[in-house]
């Protein structure tokens, strides 16, 4: 897709730069002339929304760090001071806290889109794997950020999560001690989490660059899941994708704004407005909503599996639920990308999506009675989707016939205009 560059330096500055550092050409090829499939729908705007959210988090985070103090004696008070004393502090902190939730909403939609339209398939395997790495970094960043206000959920969340590592035989406890820098979560833990919470977003930024690079090498997938075959199948990134992204971003910001201004604490937890107390555990420890499906999987393993006790089994299942995504491009044996042409996969996709939502709900329930059994069933299905359903479907399913090209499919749908309304309109002026 990344064909010959159409950029020609015009002004003196551009010509000067062109011989020394052709950065304007890079920007032009990446964000202006880059050809995008003409049939992209609004699910393809979430990449831009995610870039926007990363920028929002870094900007608000940098200014919050000017007022926050990473010391267990004053951290809680400094956050309350941000809320009450710092000019616009309430807005910046609520943007940052709710921004994390918006970031995860967008990334989950982005991932389900990739699953529905088979965007992880050849030649986009590495693009997908880079995305999984970004997700892992996001989860680590969000977890450490949640510890910083030093409330009860911060403290006990950090305690429970770092205790995962004690499940590892032999080296588990030394690793946990190394991570928290003491015998319990304390000031040393808070300090290093602040340092890493500041570092990781820039690592995410780096992997995002690789992710976009990989995307621009293989080209975007599209709702039909077939390759672009000619220039007629594409439109230039600017203005078509740019403006569509901006419009979607405005709508997304309305959604963000509603939480920010009307329900700023809805996605949080009231216990985190109680200062951390190492001697009292809250009655019901729940992680942030975006971790709930993984938390449900962790708690679903209540039984020993051979030499693996239930604690280690739960930790393995939880990390496995993310690690398995790395292998998705090879577990899905079908050559057809888009679910539009895969009648059986389409059904199983929605069963899987409902499974993820149900796991999220079960993660918020207490671990007792029927909830445990339900979490076990959905956890089993989660893994079965990747390990049994997807490999078998490729062999059992008869896909519908694929259209010959994106243009043919678009024209057939719109009643067969000879020229696409947008892209090919300009040549007539010449």
């Amino acid at each position: 897709m990344s064909g010959h560059s159409t950029y020609e330096p015009r002004t003196g500055v551009e010509k000067w730069l062109e011989r020394r550092l052709p950065i304007v050409r890079l920007m032009h090829d990446t964000a202006v002339s880059y050809p995008t499939p003409r049939n992209l729908n609004y699910f393809w705007t979430f990449g831009a929304i995610l870039v926007f959210m990363l920028v929002v988090q870094i900007l608000t985070g940098v200014v919050l760090a000017m007022h926050y103090a990473a010391n267990s004696a004053v951290a809680f008070q400094s956050v309350e001071a941000i809320m009450r004393d710092v000019n616009w502090g309430w807005l910046l902190r609520y943007m940052h806290a709710n921004g994390a939730s918006m970031f995860f909403i967008a990334v989950f939609i982005h991932m389900f889109k990739a699953m529905y339209y088979g965007s992880y398939k050849e030649p986009r395997e590495l693009l997908w794997i880079l995305g999984v790495i970004i997700l892992l970094l996001m989860m680590a960043t969000a977890f450490m950020g949640y510890v910083l206000p030093w409330g009860q959920m911060s403290f006990w969340g950090a305690t429970v999560i770092t205790n995962f590592f004690t499940a590892i035989p032999l080296v588990g406890e030394p690793i946990q001690t190394l991570l928290i820098g003491g015998f319990a979560v304390d000031n040393a833990t808070l300090n290093r989490f602040f340092s890493l919470h500041y570092l990781l977003p820039f690592m995410i930024f780096g992997v995002v660059i690789l992710h976009i690079w990989a995307l621009h090498v293989s080209g975007q997938n599209n709702p039909l899941g077939i390759d672009t075959k000619s220039e007629k199948d594409t439109v230039p990134f600017t203005p078509y994708a740019t403006l569509k992204d901006v419009f979607a971003l405005v709508v997304f910001c309305l959604f963000f704004g509603w939480f920010l201004f009307f329900q700023p604490n809805y996605l949080g937890h009231p216990d985190n407005y109680i200062q951390a107390n190492p001697l009292v555990t809250p009655a019901h420890i729940v992680p942030e909503w975006y971790f709930l499906p993984f938390y449900a999987i962790l708690r679903a393993i209540t039984f020993d599996i051979g030499p693996i006790n239930s604690k280690l089994g739960g930790v393995i299942a939880m990390f496995g639920s993310i690690a398995i995504l790395v292998f998705l491009p090879w577990l899905d044996t079908s050559k057809v990308r888009s679910a539009r042409f895969r009648p059986l996969f389409k059904i199983f996709f929605w069963v899987f999506a409902i499974t993820c939502v149900m796991l999220g709900w079960l993660g918020s329930r207490p671990a007792e009675g029927g909830y445990v059994l339900a979490a076990q069933l959905f956890t089993a299905y989660y893994f079965a989707h990747f390990l049994i359903v997807l490999p078998l479907l490729g062999f059992l399913e008869t896909p519908k016939p694929l259209p010959t090209s994106i243009t043919d499919a678009v024209l057939a749908k719109n009643g067969g205009h000879a020229h696409p309304v947008g892209a090919a309109a300009s040549p007539e002026k010449h």
Binding site: T159, G182, F183, D186, V280, P282, E368
Partner: protein, 187 residues
């Protein structure tokens, strides 16, 4: 190509390359170590090794919680009935067969005698951290009258042994000594 000199005989230069490379790896690892080890507990944390507690005021049936190495330690003055309940449990019924008592042998069984100190068996001292994922169990609660962990539903008996729920081990007993009848040193 077959006529070129055989690489089978290592030269003096090969040897120098290999040893230089090996020294480089060792040097890099040595330089890396401070960056990792700085994360381990610092001297001030390690210095908080032992504390002394006055246990004279704990009435039978009561328990107190003290902080040791940043963790809560439960000290419970058990009633005769609670001790009897703990003693009457057959060892085969226990989820974790080991005493987990740092004052006893590592393979000591989890009998009530091995969980407390002979002669002061009414005083039960334990690190008050659930062996599942590190929450603090609530005292005088649960199906066995010992402790109950609200996080993921682990039940401990009156000797602090895991009886039901996801926790894998009995609550750990730290190293402690009785200075006299009313003073206890932990650590």
């Amino acid at each position: 190509m077959a006529n070129t000199a055989s690489p089978a005989d290592p030269t003096r230069r090969d040897f120098l390359y290999l040893t230089t490379g090996a020294m480089g790896v060792v040097g890099t690892a040595a330089a890396l170590w401070p960056f990792i080890d700085q994360m381990n507990p610092d001297a001030s944390t390690r210095a908080l090794a032992s504390i002394e507690v006055d246990i004279g005021a704990i009435e039978p049936g009561q328990s107190i919680t003290v902080q040791w190495r940043g963790k809560p330690v439960f000290i419970r003055n058990r009633t005769p009935e609670e001790i009897e309940a703990a003693k009457s449990v057959p060892l085969a019924e226990l989820r974790d067969p080991l005493a987990r008592n740092d004052n006893a042998a590592a393979d000591a069984d989890a009998s009530d005698a091995n969980r407390a100190t002979d002669g002061m068996e009414n005083i039960l001292v334990m690190v008050g951290v659930c062996t599942h994922l590190g929450c603090i169990p609530l005292g005088q609660q649960g199906e066995y009258g010992g402790w109950f962990c609200p996080c993921h539903g682990s039940h401990y008996d009156t000797a602090g042994r895991i009886r039901k729920g996801p926790a894998p081990e009995n609550m750990h007993v730290p190293v402690y000594t009785f200075v006299n009848d009313t003073r206890l040193r932990i650590g």
